[in-house]
Every structure is written in structure tokens, then in C-alpha cells.
């Protein structure tokens, strides 16, 4: 028979969303709601397991009500939930305040926290499924935790699945080797049928559907959590046949996205361009950061202001870091000042010497104030 797993990780429940101040409350709630969507999707798909490959929580110190909310959500999964602690919610020991509280309050055998380096064997009918967990016990580690797996038996009749949390060389953004770095060959030569990984907030493989076993899946975060997370949230629905063939498809638990626009605005079309970029977004699920630089002629400046004012309130969060000055070109100078006059001479010479700089704008502003 085949088994089905819904795979998520890096849920970071408890994250504060301080940098998205306008939507902080909604996003904190959305994070939990998105987890619930994963559970629901898993149930809908008839998944046998919900695997959370680390960083279910954002930190090791999470308010108890939040832990209880997570438990409440996970309990709604029809089958077993397999969890490993990641580097953010690393497991310390049985006195660990987070996991101790979590385990004490699970109140069901369906939710299993695999914090030890030992095989967890389960049976689905006649099919044996073995999980090889590699929980994190610290925030940083130059060594990964999967080494012990090599020494374990991997029965051929069993579906052998590794669960780990850490960077995969060549994939992640943590390239300083501090995050339980694993290599492609380590993972694929471990003798397991599949690895379910967490840590890199981007999904791997990148395709929406996979029909061949890639050796390991990285779920990505289920919902973006920082301005650097420009991808959508993700979870994998993975089906493993008894002949070890693998099929998988992506599921997007949350519509929330960050949208950072870095634009050097020089013309109306530039304004329209960024406007179009963000207007195509799901506005109520998008936090926008506009990082605008550049210069515009007076009319275009007004248009920019109007445009921003027009869209500002349409998004769940909108912030602008705008460094745009009125562009002073020769036409502007001619229209404002008599040729040969001091302002004209000053502005036109500055424009010539510093065409892309800000000096003409600053001089213009000063003259206007002085006039």
C-alpha cells in the first residue's frame, strides 16, 4: 500500500510580526489559521501522517496559551502528527519548558514529538513505516544530527523516512555552516527512502508537482515571516508507494505574502510599473514595502503621491521608504528662472555637472524657499 504524508516545517508559531506593525495582530492569527489549513488539507487528502520537520514554534519561550492553541489545531488531524524540534524551538531535555509543557498537554497518542535519536516504528496495516528523526538540540550547530541514521537498520520492506532540520548545502541562505548543515550526498546516501526537511524557508524541489523521488523535500515555511520571505507559504502532500515511488504536490496554506518593491522612479511609466506590480497582488493578504528612489518632474511627483495615497490603504500593511526628489531639468529651470539670472546659472551648471545627483534638486528647493 502507499502512504500519504503532509509535510510542513518552519511554522514559527509565536513570531511577533513586529516589522509588519499595521497587520501584526492579523498575521499572528493567520499563522495559526494557516497551520489549521494544513491540518484540514491533510485530512481532506487522507494523509496518514502530518510531519512537522522542526521550528513549529518560533522560540523556546512561547506563551502557554499559544502552545495550547497549536495543540488544539494539531489534535484536529485525523492521524498521527510527527514532530521534531528544530533549531528555533530546540529540545533541551525533559525539563524543557516548551516541549515539556507541549507533551504534558497533548493528551493524545496521535501527536508524537520525536526528540530522541531513535527509530520510531509505526504500522499502517501491514505496511511498516519507520521514521528516523534528527531533532535539534541547540540553536546553532556546525554538525548535523543525521549521522546516527547511517548505523541503523533500514528494512527493505519498510518505508524508511528521515526527518531533519537544518541547512542543505547549496540550497539554503545560511551558508556560514552554523545551521546543522547537511549535504546532498549525506542525505541521499543515508539508505533512507526519503528525507522530510525543515529550516530553509523556501520549498524544495521548486516545482509544484513532483513525480520522481528527489531524495528529500524541504517544505518551506507555511506562511512568509519576514520581508526577505518573498515566496508564498508552502506544504508538501507526499505519497509514497510500497515500491518506494514518490509523488508529491505543493499546497499553499496561506495567501499572505510580502511584497518589497525596490524601484528607481524616473518617469510616469516607472510609477505605473510599480503600481501594476502591487495592484496585481492579493491586497488584503499582502504586506507592501516600497523602497523608492529617483527623481520626477513636478507633475509626476504629484502623480506619484496620488498613486501612493490611492493604494496605501488597500493593503494589509503598507510602508514606504521614499527618497524621490523633484527632477529639475533644463525645462524646469527655464520655466522658473530668467536665463542669465543667478538661480538659472546655478541650477543649469549643477544639472550639467551632477546630472544624476541630488544637488540640482537641493539647490532648487533652497532657491524656492529663499525666493
Amino acid at each position: 500500500m502507499s502512504i500519504k504524508i503532509i509535510h510542513t516545517a518552519d511554522n514559527h508559531i509565536g513570531i511577533s510580526y513586529n516589522s509588519v506593525s499595521q497587520a501584526k495582530t492579523e498575521l499572528v492569527l493567520e499563522r495559526l489559521t494557516s497551520l489549521k489549513r494544513i491540518v484540514d488539507e491533510g485530512n481532506k487528502e487522507g494523509a496518514n501522517y502530518l510531519v512537522i520537520a522542526g521550528d513549529l514554534f518560533d522560540v523556546t519561550k512561547v506563551v502557554k496559551t499559544r502552545i495550547m492553541e497549536v495543540i488544539k489545531v494539531l489534535k484536529t488531524f485525523n492521524e498521527k502528527v510527527i514532530i521534531i524540534p528544530g533549531n528555533h524551538d530546540f529540545f533541551v531535555d525533559e525539563f524543557d519548558s516548551l516541549w515539556n509543557y507541549f507533551k504534558t498537554n497533548i493528551d493524545t497518542e496521535k501527536i508524537i514529538v520525536l526528540d530522541k535519536y531513535e527509530v520510531f516504528i509505526d504500522h499502517l496495516g501491514e505496511q511498516e513505516v519507520r521514521f528516523y528523526p534528527a531533532a535539534c538540540r541547540t540553536l546553532h550547530s556546525e554538525q548535523n544530527m543525521i549521522g546516527w541514521v547511517n548505523l541503523e537498520k533500514k528494512p527493505i520492506h519498510s518505508i524508511n523516512i528521515g526527518i531533519a532540520h537544518g541547512n542543505v548545502e547549496g540550497l539554503g541562505r545560511d551558508d556560514d555552516g552554523k545551521y546543522f548543515n547537511m549535504t546532498h550526498s549525506e542525505l541521499t546516501n543515508s539508505g533512507l527512502d526519503l528525507w522530510l526537511l525543515g529550516h530553509i524557508h523556501v520549498a524544495y524541489p521548486t516545482q509544484n508537482e513532483v513525480n520522481e523521488n528527489p531524495g528529500y523535500f524541504m517544505s518551506g515555511t507555511h506562511m512568509p515571516d519576514s520581508w526577505k520571505s518573498t515566496n508564498a507559504g508552502n506544504a508538501w502532500i507526499i505519497e509514497i508507494h510500497e515500491d518506494k515511488k514518490v509523488k508529491a504536490k505543493k499546497f499553499q496554506p496561506s495567501a499572505f505574502k510580502y511584497k518589497v518593491i525596490e524601484s528607481d522612479i524616473r518617469s510616469l511609466s516607472d510609477i505605473d510599473n510599480f503600481k501594476n506590480q502591487i495592484l496585481n497582488c492579493d491586497k488584503k493578504n499582502t504586506a507592501v514595502r516600497l523602497n523608492l528612489t529617483g527623481t520626477l518632474v513636478q507633475n509626476d511627483l504629484s502623480y506619484l503621491e496620488e498613486t501612493i495615497n490611492e493604494i496605501r490603504n488597500e493593503f494589509i500593511h503598507f510602508e514606504e521608504n521614499k527618497y524621490i526628489k523633484r527632477r529639475i531639468d533644463i525645462d524646469a529651470i527655464n520655466s522658473e528662472f530668467v536665463e542669465g539670472s543667478l538661480p538659472h546659472i546655478l541650477l543649469s551648471e549643477l544639472l550639467l555637472e551632477d546630472p544624476d545627483g541630488m544637488s540640482t534638486q537641493k539647490a532648487f528647493e533652497a532657491i524656492k524657499k529663499n525666493n
Binding site: 516589522s19 538540540r137 539670472s341 543667478l342 538661480p343 551632477d354 537641493k362
Partner: protein, 814 residues
Amino acid sequence: MKLLNLHLHPFAGTIDKQYNFEDGLNVVYGHNEAGKSTIVNAFLAVLLESTDLTKTVFKNTLAKYMPIGGDTINIDLTFEVAGIKYQLKKSWGANNFSSLNKVGEAPINNADTVQKELFKLLNLNKSTVREMIFTTQAKISNTIDAIKKDPEINNSLDQILRGAILNTGGIIPEKLKVQLEKEFNELSLNWNLENDAPSISSNNKGSYENRWEKGLGEILKLAYEINDKQKAKLYREQYDEKLSNLANEINILRGHVNLDQNYIDSNKALMESLSNRITIQSELKSIESNKEIIVGAQSEWYKINAMLPVLSGQIIADKEQLNQLNTELENARKSGDITIKIAQFDKVSALKIKYDTTKELLTNTKVVTNVDVENVKKLEDELIKAQNELNALASAQNFIVEIQPKKNLTIELQHGTALASQINLVQGEPYAIEVNKSFVYSSDEVTIQVKSLTQEISILNDKITLLKKQFEDAVAIFGVINMEELKQNNLIYNQNNDQYKLAKTTFENSIAGTTFEKLKQDIEELKNIPKTREKEVLEKLYQNLIGKMATDDNSYKLYEKKLKEFENLYTSLENLVELIIGIRQNEKITQDKLNLLPAIDPSNDMETFQIEFKAANERFNKNKSLLQEKELERAKHEGQEQFDLAMEIQDQIELLDRKKNQKVQEAKAIQLVLNKLNDILNRATINPYQAYETNLSNYLSVLSGGKYQSLSNSEVSPNAIKNTTNNLELPIEMLSQGTSGILGLSLRLAMADYFLGENNGFIAFDDPMVDFDENRQLFAATCLQNYSQNKQVIIFTCHQSHAAHLGGYLINLN
């Protein structure tokens, strides 16, 4: 602007009055308090003050001009600009009101608009009107200071002057520069743009560690803020790192603890078994040892009980035997030396005979002891001495006595102290004696005593006689008559006595401790002793028996002592037996317990195991304690106040950095603008101040009657003037009151030329000639008259002579 009519109704102390002004020179003459200042203040109010004033501003500016008991100030002014007449009305107080209109046209009533329009018509700013157009007495001599202190005047004039050679486009270059510099400072104060770092003073002030508290430009503020964020980020990273490290330490410790815990748990039973085994074995050993003691005691007790009577009988028998042996030994000893003893006794017998003999001899010897001899000798010596003395005396009276015997006879002649000697005298034969001493002649018939004649001889003779008598008596005691005999006797006595003593001593020594009779009896007894075994044999037997008896006695005493001990310890033998039964039962029970313990594989090294187990226990406890400490530390660390995540802070830093970079670009842009502006201004080949300075110098020359000229310095006010008579330069600071006054008036006229420009504007002076001497008053009057050819000039004076010098249209306030 040309002033035509001023109507005050009311203003200050003036209830309702109108003043008309003409072209050219107007002289307002009046005594003090006549209302000159009121007119000046009314002009300033109506021209410069808006009617839209806050209460506070009104209170500080115009309230003082409110008439006593009134609630309104009303000023109307009619003036002309470029041939067009304007009507201006302003009211403050109960109803603030402004109105400006060209005559015949609709008025503007908005206060701000009216005011803006007025400044346009004046073509002057407020400061210039207040400070330059209306000049009081004090202002004239302080003109240079006033100009220097008022940048507006400077800038205005600068603009005008530069405008003459350069179209400033309506801006004031100096003002623009000031503004740009201000903006530049606001951005980059205490920021080093070149190094992109804070400006650091010598004591490191300004660095991130020792920050500026004041003078923070926007860039520096942002840089400090970024630095704070970076610190916060580092702090957060350190917090995370510490938490991670603590977790790691806890993990390692937990691993050790669990490992040891497992080892202890799995070996606890063995360790306990081992421990119990040791205890039981030790217990068994103790029982065994106790048993040995008690069984030994029992055995010994039995033995003592058996041995004591035997020993007791033995000791009695041995005593008897010893007595017998002793007797026999004594006899043997006695018999052993009988021959010797007889020989010895014979010797003693011989000695006894000797003793008896000497004793008898001594007994038969006259006793003349040495003491006796000595005593007699003393007498004899004394006698001899006396005789010698007598002889000495007698020799002094020496004579011969001749005795004529008439018959034969024997006489005893005592000569001197010598012994009397018997002398046989023969008849007829005289016997002569040389007499030198007394003598006594004694015969049966007679005693003739010849005495010394002298008393001494007589005394001596007496003494000799006495001594002789004593001597004779003394020797007589011993049966002799003289000393020799006595000595002889003494010798004999001594010899006998010595022999006796020797014999006595020898004899007594030979029978020492006994008597001869006893010895004799012993010998007799010895001769009768029965036959015995050999003494040596007996002695040996005796010694052996003594030894045996001592041993037996000792043994007996030891047995007795031991018995007492046993009785003390165990009360009785029966009780001891009971004890032994109890011990044996206990031994069995203990042995059974030992047999019940799990068997230990003999191949295991239990000693090493115990050491390892102990070490594991110690390690476990130590690590457990350390673990608790680390858990506590972790809980404390985690319990700290929550702050932003490093990632969030980094986001904030990036935004601030972006902002800061923008500000840096702005500052650099302003720097560029300033450089460019200076460059453009410096490029002008003509000195914009040249014409102004010529004009000023001309006025000064006219006002000083050609004595002074001003010196060029390309500024509004000169630093020095030149005396044309001696070509000496006089610094402004050294000028007299009067010269300062004419220089001030020159400056004001020169500046007014530019401020008023081509417009027929007006200028007003309050007693401008008050500090001037008569000549200068005439020069000034001429100068002002000339000036009024092109401009409206209003002179206020309280001096009739000044008014007379000036001429012109007179407005008499008196």
C-alpha cells in the same frame, strides 16, 4: 512711495489730526513732546504692522498707542507710487481693520494681503523700513553697528548691489548661502562626510562610545540609532547564542547523567547484592570469631576444671618432696666438707691455744702502756727541764764542794735536779764536787742540802724536788725506778699485748659468727650425720622440683584467674554452653541468608566493578547538580524580557541605513551647491560694491566739507575712512561722535539711494544734525536739500536753527 497725508484719529495722545507732506524736503518742527515721535510711530505702525495681530503681539507692539479711555487706534495714510494715489486705512483695538485702495477703486480688506501689497509698494522689507528709512538721532551715530547687527539690511543691500551687476533672480545670495549652510549643518553636524563617520574630537568625543549629546545632525542621529540597533542585534544574537550554548551544555550533561543513571540502575541490584554479601560475610566472620572465642572458653573451662585439683595435689606432694630433698641436701652438704671442716677446726683449735697462751702471758706482764710512758715521760721532761734551768743558774755560782769523808760511807747525792746518786765515800779521801748548783747531801745521818743562793734556784730546786717526787711516785706505780725500766716494761707489755691481740683476732676470725664450743659441737655432729645421695644430684633434683613447683603454682594461679574471668563473662559453664548453641543457630541463619543472595560470576572483577560503580555514582551526582545549575541558568536566561529578534533588528537597521545614506547624499549635494554658488559669485569681474562705495565717499566728502573720504572694502559699511588733508586712514572705532554722525548720515543716504532706487521714495530723519557743529550743520543742510531734489525727505527737529538751515516745507507742530 511718496507720503501725502497722515491722519491720526486717534493715535497715542493725538485725538484727531492730519498732516500733509510735500515733494522734496519736509521739516517737521516742534518742541519736545509736540508730537514728532507720535508721527514717526504712526508711520511705522500704518506701514509695517498688520491689523491681524494676536493679543500678545498687539500688547507688545501697539497697545501702548491706545488713547487713554479709548478702545481703538485709527490711522489713515494717503501716499503715491508711480503717480498713482493710494488710500490706506488701519484700525486696531475694538475692530481690527485694514483697507488699501487706489483712489477711486475698490479697497482690499484682507489684512495679510494689504500688508503684502504694502511691502511690494514700498519695495522694501520691514527691517529696512524700520532701521534705514526712519532714522532716529541715536541711530545715525550707531549706523555702522546697526548695519553689522542686522543681516537683513546687509543682505538687502547686497542683493541690490549684486543685482546691479548680476540678475539675482529675486534671491539673496547671502541668504541662500546661509540657508544652504543651515540645511547642511542640520544634516551633517558632527558628521565627517569624507570618512562617513562621526566627527571625533581629541578626547574621542563623538565616537559611538562617547557620543555627542548636543549638536547632532540628522546623519549622526541616524548613525547613532543604527549603532544602537547593531548593539541590540548583537545583544540578541549573544542572547540566542548563550541560550543555544546552555542547551548544548545541558544536552551533554543530560547525556552523561542519563548514561550514568542507566548504568547505576542496571547495576544497582548487583551492587546491592555485593554490598549485602559483604555485610553478611562480615557478619559471618564475626559470628565465627565469636564462636571460636566461646568454644575456646568452654574447652578451657573444662580443662581448668580438670586441671585445678590435679595441680593442687601435685603442689602438695611436691612440697613434701621438697622438704625431704631439702633435708637430704642439707645433710649432703654437711657431709660433703667434713674433712675440711675438721682440718679447719684443728686450725681453730691451734689458734685457740695460741690465744690462750698470749692471753696468759699478757696477764702476767706488767701493764705499762704507751700512755703511761708518755705521762711519766712528761714528768721526767719537766724535771729535766727544771734541772737544766737550775744548772744554768748554778753554773753562774760555780764552786767546788769537797767532802771530806771521815769514814767510809755511802752517800746519796742529789745533785741539782739530777737523780740522786749513791756515792761511796772513802774516808780520808775528799770527794770533790764541782758545785754549780744546789745539791742535797743526804745520809742516814744527815741530809745536807745545798741550796742556791738565789731565790730562783731555790724555787727551782723546790720544783725539782716536787717533780722528782712526782716522778718517783709515778715510776713507782709501775714497780720501777726510772724511766728506762719503765720503758723496758712498756716494751715488754706492748710486745705481749700485740701478740695477744694478734692471736685473739686470728682466733676470733676463725670462729667468726660462732663459738669455739659450737664449732666443736658441730664437728661432733658432723661426724654423726647419716649417709646421703650426692649433693650435686640432690641440688639438681631440688632445683628441678623448685622449677616444677613454680610452674605448677603459676599455672594454678592462671587457671584460677581465667576461671574468674569466665565466671564474670559467662556466669557459668552451663550458661556458656547455652551461648554456644545460640551462636551456632545464628551462624546457620546468616549462612542461609548468604546462600539466598544471587550468585556472583567469579570471573567478574568485583573490585573494579565497585570502583567503577562508585565513580559512576559520584559523576552522576556531580553532573546532576551541574545540570540543575544549568537548567536554572537557562530558565533565568529565557526569563529575560523579550526583545526583537535579530532578524527583525536587521530589518530595522537596513531601513535606517537606507535613510542615512539618503541623508548623506543630500548633504553632499548641498555641499556641491554651496561650492557652486560661491564659484558663481566669485566669478563676477566687477565689484558690486564699487558704485555704492563711491557714492558713500561722495556723501562723506560733502558732509565733511571735503575733509574725509571713505575706503573701499567691498562691504556695506567701511572699516576705515581717509583724511584727505593728511592722507591718514582712521579706523571707524577711532572716530569722534560728530564724525561718526556724518559717516552714519552718509551711509544712510548712500544706502537709501539703493533701497529707494529709481522710485521716488521717502526717507525720514529725527534731528540728524544734533551732533554737528555749525559748519557741519550747514554742510548737512545743503546735502539734505540736494538729496530732496530726487527723494521725499522728512526731517523732524526741535531746533529752530536746524529748521532754518534746512528750509523746505515746514510743518510746525508748536
